[in-house]
Amino acid sequence: MTRLQTFWGSFRMSLLHFFADPQWIIPNIIAPFVFTIVALILFRDVSGSVALYAVLGGGMMGMWGNTLYGSGFALAFDRWNGTIEYVLGTPSRLVWIIAGRSASNAVLGLANALAIVLVVAIGYGAFFAIADPILFLLALVLTLTSLSALGVVFCSAFLLSRSAQVMTNGLEMPIYVASGSMFPVALLPFWSHPLSFSLGPTWGIDAMRYAADATYVGLGFGYWTDVLVVLASAIVYLTIGFWLFIVVENKVRRDASLTEY
């Protein structure tokens, strides 16, 4: 119950922080938004389901951008504001506080994704029909969960470093590329495929494309395999994230390096 209370308290506080200064949504969504428009301009002479790649890819990037920046800056802001000692000094485990913040970022990430899809669809007329809305929603929620879980893993590393902001900037693009957010993973060099397939979002975006377009042929494993892999990846990421947080939390307490910045 205490863990749940911690989770909920952190989730609520994170949302309140966001609504107190909502301008911070701009850094989270500007890159995915611009990338999607660039893609649509590049796709202007191409027919077929490319709008699906651009718009769904933009949505996925919006979710990842928000999760990554949310995770990266959650602790950096605490450092800058001098509140990180108090956060760590509470009897609650840090990982549950971060989990609450990550869940909040995930909810905002979903709103980002929807905003990008809507603006691009209306602004550029890039409409597409979703073949199976229920399966699409399931894939979307699982992808979001997987992205948030990945955010928890990265956040544990951000606790160790004073350079969280730099790492955040550095991690945004690799996931966009490796997950094949806007193009098929098959285009990437063969040696990079293991990295792509180890990322939940790669399977998540594939599942969303399957659900949206009945004629889509992606990774070739089918919708349900994709969904199962996304679910498994979220569980693995969360397990790693929780374990890392325990290790890292003990380390910063022992080394007294928490407020170093």
Partner: protein
Amino acid sequence: MALILRDWPPYRIFWSSATFAFKALFSWLRPAMWLTQLLVLPLFQMAFFVYLSRFVNPGTTGVAFIAVGNALQVASFSSIFAVCNLTSEEKWQGTLTPLIVTPANRFPLFVGRAMFQILNSIATIVVGFFYASVVFGVDMSRTDFVALSVVILVTCLAMTGFGLMLGSVGLYMRTAMIIANIFLFIGLLVCGVNFPVTVLPTWLQPVSYAIPMTYGTMAARAAVEGSSLVLLAPVILQEIAAGAISVFVGYLLFLGFEALARRKGTFEEF
């Protein structure tokens, strides 16, 4: 002569500000992390747009256009994002007010702060062109490297001037990070990085030509195709003019926002 230059107040302010900014940056940023960022950012930004281009038009020559454009644009992380945030960072560290009450001339003070980012931008672009040639197969056999070097230098200086102009607004706002983020990525859309500026709506094209990067991407592509410095001179001069105007407008904005922030007492608002 050396003694005279050393004693000249603007030079002294510029140099001490540049040295201080360098030391301050590496007091929190590990060199290994800086190097990782230098090597990773250009690679993945270029990869994203190159693979997108290959997906759209397999087998076409558009890859070189996009790789060269992004190799240059990726310097925006230093020349726009980092430079634009200079004033906000002073706010976060609590050093803006002590800095502003000094009688030091603002121009050499903040240009000095941006000095390392000019060098950082140059290094980023060099890495970007290395990837363009080695990883993405851009043919650089006809490249006029003197012309390309001048284009890179001018682009970094002009874009840093543009970043300083944006940073002036941050003096008055709670943070410049929002503007920094917008202009960091908007260049991908309006500066002819991934497609020619002529593809954009007519009403948007003047915005493109107000940003120095637009001239930089045009000149860099021409230099890679073998155009000499003489042939590129008109474009380079336009880029210098765009950069100089940015610096001039930025300086006026800085003085204006400084006066406004003094009157309203908002220097420490963040």
